[in-house]
């Protein structure tokens, strides 16, 4: 994995990770990113949804309209088998990258 792909993949990695265990809808995803990063990372409508559509186009995630009693239907995204593999690979890449950075800079991250 080249460095260029690593960086580009960071946003993808966030989304794939968030829906690894359960399907989520777009608004939920953006809220989670903002909340878990304590506001450091935010996704705008303008960038989140296009990315979701693109990931869906690649077959890594799948969106489905789900209706729950008393609520309007929402589009939930879940990881596909292909997405799971990509996520695993991307995680490994990031770990290696972070490890490399750590070795060089001596930065310990929490």
């Amino acid at each position: 994995m080249t460095q260029h792909e690593l960086k580009k993949g960071s946003a993808e990695l966030l989304i794939l990770s968030l829906i690894e265990r359960q399907a989520r809808h777009g608004y939920e995803i953006s809220k989670l990113i903002a909340a878990r990063s304590e506001g450091t990372l935010t996704f705008q409508v303008a960038s989140l949804y296009p990315l979701l559509y693109r990931l869906e186009g690649r077959g890594w995630i799948q969106g489905r309209w789900v209706e729950k009693a008393g609520e309007r239907r929402r589009r939930f995204y879940r990881l596909t088998a292909a997405g799971r593999k990509v996520l695993a690979a991307q995680r490994r890449g990031w770990l290696q990258f972070a490890e490399a950075i750590r070795r060089i800079t001596g930065i310990e991250y929490a």
Binding site: Q3, H4, K7, K8, S10, A11, E12, H25, G26, Y27, S30, F43, Q44, V45, A46, S47, Y49, P50, L51, Y53, R54, G57, W65, R72, R74, R75
Partner: protein, 883 residues
């Protein structure tokens, strides 16, 4: 609650996604906004504020629309286009700078190209013009490239060649047309009847000459040119069969030539040549031939050479056939000039592109953050390159359109500079080829200045840029190197143009300061042709011209008046001479071709030539001295005299000993003629042309039908034109006068091409220098602004302002020096192409090289110094605080 669905739908309206998909996307986005809105309300934010904040998110819908996969590729392009236009509008100074530079570069190219196109690319208005060639004979031993074709050769070539579809021969001959008001001189040609077929022309009306009419003693018939037909007969078919008087003889009109394809150029009458195949003549014809398909010029030449040699086993070893593509015969001189000019404007455009590329790269660095964010959220590199290229194309498109408009104006200006000397079938209207050229050059320019910065920008590493968030991003080392490289290129190219322009302008200046050998001021000349049917005898001609000169002298304001068969710039009539007492010719030496001019007494005075020895002709020299043929000088009629030019005297004797020596035509029994004087050489063929030795005879020894009158006025010579016309009309209204122009105008026009290209080159060079200086200034200023922080630190650590100036100047001038060195080497190589255009200046003239290098260095110094001083004025505390 706001109706989010409608709002979203409006924002995405231009997306044109497929129905169902669009509905889904809208629904999903709507929900997102509703959730956001509701949450903000829950947090206790007012409904209005909440709505504003949610809408802020949607405000980025332009890029939202762009990021969502479009339904059709064009959609993406339309989006890119919109985005590009918006970006242009937000940076008006930047955009107009880029567009202005491009317009300048493209405008120059468009104008010069349309001239090149008109001259060399647009097909001539004849059938299959690529098959047409000019036929002539060449005589290198006489230093004459074209001597004309003789009667005998014409018949031989036509009969025995195997490579031509057809050939025709022409003698240009003007006629005095009488019977339609005042006599008028009409340019015409004696042509063989094949000419129509060779050119592939169709008559507008009537019929071509028959072979009988085109032979000795055939009926006198004429084909009228289209415009003459319109003028004389209002375009009526009744013209056919009418009889008109040409130079005193009656000709029956049998047809009308087409209007757009006048050949030879400007001719308005065709009359059959009706040559005698058995007569031995001089070389007086021009030929035009149509090659058979698949025959090359070389093959045709070899073929004609074979025919020529077999016909002249003993007689003619001096002349041989020469075949030139028709266009080159007329415009060949301009080929080098127009190519060199195209090269020059090309360089200007290249510099403009280099500047724009540098601007774009600097802009790209500023946009690095925007691009990094887009990359981080998944926009692919190709997507970003596409967006940047669209911006580039939009700017190139606008710049190109402005450039073409500018080029059109520029072309108009250039055409007014051109005197009326271009063949009529050359026109400079804009055509499809021009359109294609403009599109190509604009696209090429866009690629040249846009691709590199786009690639550079797309390579920007997202992480590094984002980490620097808040600080002004600086250029990567690679970009800095590229920018430096661009500066070096610009300086090199500008120097190349400047030196070339310097060489050309110096040449032009040298030409202007050439001593013409006569005094052109206050002189006006015009030509008079006597119709041979009326003035058949030598006595009549001599009497007429003697009277005419006499009466012209009496016009008030005329200082002196005379006549010559060929005044300066008035054409060439050559011959060979033997000189008494001259050293014999060496084995490989050839007698030079000598210009011979018949003059009326007083000519040297009127034209302002200087005597180096001996005396001028007087009326006693100008008595009739021709034999019974009315043509050749006859010593039995009285002493024969001549005046020779300085070059002639030096060629055979020297100036001091020439007077009293004798010369004669190079024929066995030609009579000897005594030299009575030596005049200073005059620049007969133009100020930048070489002179030939010349011999001047009294008119009485060579009475010609056609003479040019020379009037020197005490007043503005233009004022003499009217009275001179009246004099001639009173003497004989059947004699036409033509080609009336002042000598200064003739000189001026003879140099139009040199003047035009020299100044054009100068203008291009100045534009190039200005562009290059602007480029240097821009790049250095930019570099300084990016280094403000660093400079602040240095100064805080004790660097003095002059040290800062020196550092920045040093690095800037190092680039200039590198550019100048490259430009110098390139110029030394390229200047050889210019050599054909130079006059009295070496293509390596050290003074011009030095001046231009100094000029470039000076201008670049200023361009470097201004930003350097600005850097030194940095307040260290401020600089550090802003970071």
């Amino acid at each position: 609650m706001p109706d989010w669905k409608t709002i979203v739908r409006e924002r995405l309206a231009r997306l044109r996604l497929k129905g169902a998909r669009e509905a889904e996307i809208i629904e999903e986005l709507t929900q997102d906004l509703e959730d956001r809105y509701n949450e903000l309300l829950v947090q206790g934010i007012s409904a209005a504020d909440a709505r504003l904040r949610a809408e802020e998110i949607l405000a980025q819908s332009e890029s939202l629309a762009g990021e969502i996969e479009p339904a059709a590729p064009l959609c993406g392009f339309r989006h890119d286009l919109r985005l590009a236009l918006r970006n242009l509008r937000t940076r008006p100074a930047f955009s107009s700078l880029v567009i202005g530079m491009l317009a300048l570069g493209i405008g120059g190219n468009a104008a010069i190209f349309s001239i090149f196109n008109g001259m060399f690319l647009r097909p001539l208005p004849f059938k299959e013009p690529a098959q047409l060639v000019d036929l002539d004979e060449t005589a290198p031993q006489w230093k004459l490239k074209y001597v004309g074709v003789s009667n005998a050769d014409f018949y031989e070539w036509q009969k025995h060649n195997a490579t031509f579809d057809s050939m025709a021969f022409i003698k240009q001959n003007d006629f005095n047309l009488s019977g339609f008001g005042t006599a008028e001189r009409i340019p015409g040609a004696l042509v063989t009847h094949d000419l129509l077929r060779v050119l592939g022309l169709k008559l507008v009306a009537g019929r071509n000459f028959s072979p009988q009419e085109d032979s000795q003693g055939g009926d006198k018939v004429v084909l009228l040119g289209y415009s003459l037909w319109q003028r004389l007969f209002g375009g009526s078919r009744e013209a056919l069969g009418r009889v008109i008087k040409l130079s005193g003889e009656s000709y029956t009109v049998i047809g009308v030539l087409p209007g757009d394809a006048v050949f030879p150029d400007r001719v308005e009458l065709w009359v059959p040549l009706a040559a005698d195949p058995n007569a031995s003549t001089g070389w007086y014809l021009n030929g035009v031939g149509r090659l058979k398909h698949g025959v090359s010029i070389e093959q045709a030449h070899a073929d004609l050479l074979r025919v020529h040699k077999s016909a002249h086993l003993n007689a003619n070893k001096v002349t041989s056939p020469i075949i030139t593509p028709l266009r080159d015969r007329f415009l060949g001189n301009f080929r080098t000039v127009s190519r060199v000019l195209l090269g020059a404007v090309g360089i200007v455009l290249l510099i403009a592109c280099v500047n724009v590329a540098a601007l774009m790269m600097m802009r790209g660095a500023e946009r690095a953050r925007e691009i990094a964010i887009r990359t981080a959220i998944g926009a692919s590199g190709s997507r970003i390159i596409r967006q940047l290229l669209t911006e580039t194309l939009v700017m190139a498109g606008i710049g190109g359109a402005a450039g073409v408009a500018l080029g059109y104006l520029f072309l108009r200006g250039l055409l007014t500079l051109m005197p009326d000397q271009m063949p009529r079938w050359i026109n400079f209207a804009l055509d499809a080829r021009f359109a294609v050229f403009c599109v190509l050059i604009t696209g090429g320019a866009a690629m040249a200045f846009g691709l590199l910065p786009a690639l550079q920008a797309a390579r920007v590493s997202a992480g590094s840029v984002l980490q620097e968030s808040g600080t002004r991003s600086s250029l990567s080392r690679g970009s800095r190197r590229t920018l430096s490289g661009l500066v070096v290129c610009e300086i090199g190219l500008a120097l190349m143009l400047l030196i070339s322009a310097g060489l050309l302008i110096k040449s032009f200046d040298k030409v202007l300061h050439v001593d013409p050998g006569f005094r052109p001021e206050n002189v006006i000349t015009f030509s008079v042709d006597l119709p041979p049917a009326v003035y058949g005898k030598a006595e009549q001609k001599l009497t007429f011209f003697r009277n005419l000169v006499e009466q012209l002298r009496h016009i008030p304001g005329v200082e002196s008046a005379a006549a010559a068969s060929a005044p300066p710039l008035g054409g060439h009539w050559g011959n060979f001479f033997q000189a008494e007492g001259a050293p014999p010719l060496g084995p490989h030496e050839q007698n030079p071709v000598v210009l011979q001019v018949a003059v009326m007494p007083g000519y040297f005075d009127a034209i302002g030539m200087t005597f180096l020895a001996g005396r001028a002709f007087d009326e006693r020299d100008n008595l009739l001295r021709v034999g019974t043929d009315g043509w050749s000088a006859d010593p039995a009629k009285g002493p024969l005299v001549a005046i020779v030019s300085e070059a002639f005297a030096r060629r055979y004797w020297n100036v001091e000993t020439a007077v009293g020596k004798r010369i004669r035509h190079s024929a066995d029994n030609a009579p000897w003629i005594t030299v009575t004087g030596v005049v200073k050489d005059e620049k007969h063929y133009g100020l930048d042309q070489e002179t030939r030795p010349a011999v001047y005879f009294p008119y009485g020894e060579a009475p010609l039908e056609s003479m040019s009158m020379v009037l020197r006025g005490a007043i503005d010579p233009e004022m003499l034109a009217g009275p001179a016309r009246d004099v001639l009309r009173r003497m004989d209204p059947g004699v036409a006068m033509y080609d009336m122009r002042s000598m200064t105008e003739r000189l001026h026009q003879s140099m139009w091409a040199r003047r035009a290209y020299s100044w054009l080159f100068g203008a291009f060079a100045m534009v190039a220098l200005a562009l290059a200086a602007a480029g240097v200034y821009g790049v250095i200023s930019y570099a300084v602004s990016r280094r403000t922080h660093e400079i602040g630190i240095r100064m805080a650590l004790g660097a003095r302002p002059d040290q800062v100036v020196r550092t920045i100047l040093g690095s800037g001038m190092a680039l200039v020096a590198a550019g100048a060195a490259i430009g110098l080497v390139a110029t030394l190589i390229a200047a050889r192409l210019l050599e054909a255009l130079l006059f009295g200046v070496s293509s390596r003239d050290p003074r011009i090289y030095a001046t231009m290098i100094l000029g470039v260095a000076g201008v670049s110094f200023v361009a470097n110094f201004v930003p350097a001083r600005r850097a030194a004025a940095v307040d260290p505390m401020n600089a550090l605080r802003t970071e």
